[in-house]
């Protein structure tokens, strides 16, 4: 991309004050970058905390910390053993929607309204497919009856889960005989799973919302009248960031 940033300006002029930005970017774009830096540090903190929990439970003999290939083994509509394939498909969907987003930005630089509408619409569709995939993932792999890990600890509110599970007769603190849910699997892993993918999924949801609103404005011709499609570029930055975070979540949650 060409743009103001590729113009040769000596640093004395750039940083010398006046009305020009030393970074040669508009206010909105710079603020979007600031937001992404802070948001990225939040995700960095979450993933680092995951690393702490994992390496504090590193011994296979005394505690078991699962890997993605042991947990995420199913595909919808089949009983075949397919480790990581489903999450790989989700990753691929998000990468492709990131590509359609960058194509929309490129079309915006040519003031090609039709192409911007086409690619923005595909980006929204890709985001919705990803969110739908996450619904299946959430209800299948860990909480689901078919999953390898149960999240049911000794928690009465969760033991009424509709997904099934194993009941045994036990004795509670008052000496009464009660039905209790058998627990198995590390709940800490599941907690991190739902928190991190949930936080990311919320970002995807917001991104789809932003993309949809900007798409609506593109269709109404707001940006064409304005003379530039920089708003598409700004929501594009956010959308790529969501994809970028998923790349890290994919590695540090599903792969290692």
């Amino acid at each position: 991309m060409a743009g103001a940033a590729s113009k040769e300006i000596d640093s004395a002029t750039l940083w010398g004050g006046g009305y020009t930005s030393p970074f040669s970017v508009s206010y909105g774009k710079l603020m979007m970058w600031f937001f992404l830096v802070s948001d990225g540090l939040t995700f960095g903190g979450l993933l680092s905390a995951l690393g702490f929990a994992k390496f504090a439970n590193v011994n296979d003999a005394t505690s078991h910390w699962p890997t993605g290939e042991e947990v995420f083994t199913h595909l919808p509509g089949t009983h075949a053993h397919a480790p990581l394939i489903y999450v790989a498909l989700m990753t691929f969907i998000l990468i492709i929607s990131s590509v359609t987003m960058v194509l929309a930005v490129e079309a915006g630089h040519r003031m090609d309204k039709k192409a911007v509408i086409k690619w923005m619409a595909w980006t929204v569709v890709g985001g919705l497919i990803f969110l739908g995939s996450q619904v299946w993932e959430w209800s299948t792999f860990i909480a689901g009856y078919d999953g390898d890990i149960s999240t049911w600890a000794d928690n009465g509110t969760l033991s009424h889960s509709p997904y099934g599970g194993q009941w045994v007769m036990g004795v509670d603190a008052h000496g009464h005989e009660v039905k209790q849910m058998v627990t198995y699997g590390p709940t800490l892993y599941a907690n991190f799973f739902f928190f991190i993918t949930g936080f990311h999924g919320f970002h995807v949801f917001t991104g789809v919302l932003f993309n949809f609103l900007v798409l609506r404005n593109v269709i109404r011709g707001v940006y064409h009248k304005r003379g530039h499609y920089e708003m598409v570029e700004k929501v594009g930055l956010y959308w790529h960031f969501v994809d970028l975070v998923w790349v890290f979540v994919f590695t540090f949650f599903y792969l290692v």
């Binding site: 040669s24 011994n59 990468i95 079309a107 003031m111 590695t251």
Partner: protein
């Protein structure tokens, strides 16, 4: 209202049909690269599961983890520099965005992993 004290950087982003073609071919190349890297990552997970390479904490698994991290940084670099156009921005902006991560996140990871091993050792004893 037109303000003459604001430099309209957004208008400089425009490019011609010719330049667009070049940019699109670059986008498709990066797409292919990201897809191939993802496929390689999944293939490693499929053919070399943790249980077979020696389990958590073994050297074999450490090698696979390192490979994954290198591939991840590669993917992240292409997304940031090409898709987010940070490679085309001014050097000062690029550094302002990337250095916080290189400094703080690496430091945080170092501290937390060191502490995690200490906690783990304490639980074992």
């Amino acid at each position: 209202m037109v303000r003459d004290d604001i430099v309209e950087y957004s208008l400089d982003g425009h490019h011609s049909e010719e330049a667009g073609k070049k940019i699109r071919s670059k986008i498709f190349k990066v797409t292919a690269l990201l897809s191939v890297v993802t496929i390689v990552e999944v293939a490693i997970g499929w053919f070399l599961p943790r249980a077979e390479v020696g389990g958590l904490g073994s050297w074999g698994w450490f090698g696979i983890e390192t490979t994954y991290m290198i591939l991840t940084v590669l993917k992240a670099a292409y997304i940031i520099l090409v898709f987010m156009h940070l490679g085309d921005e001014r050097k000062a902006l690029r550094r302002m965005i990337l250095w916080p991560y290189i400094i703080f996140i690496l430091y945080l990871v170092f501290i937390l992993v060191t502490e995690a091993y200490a906690v783990n050792a304490a639980w074992l004893s």
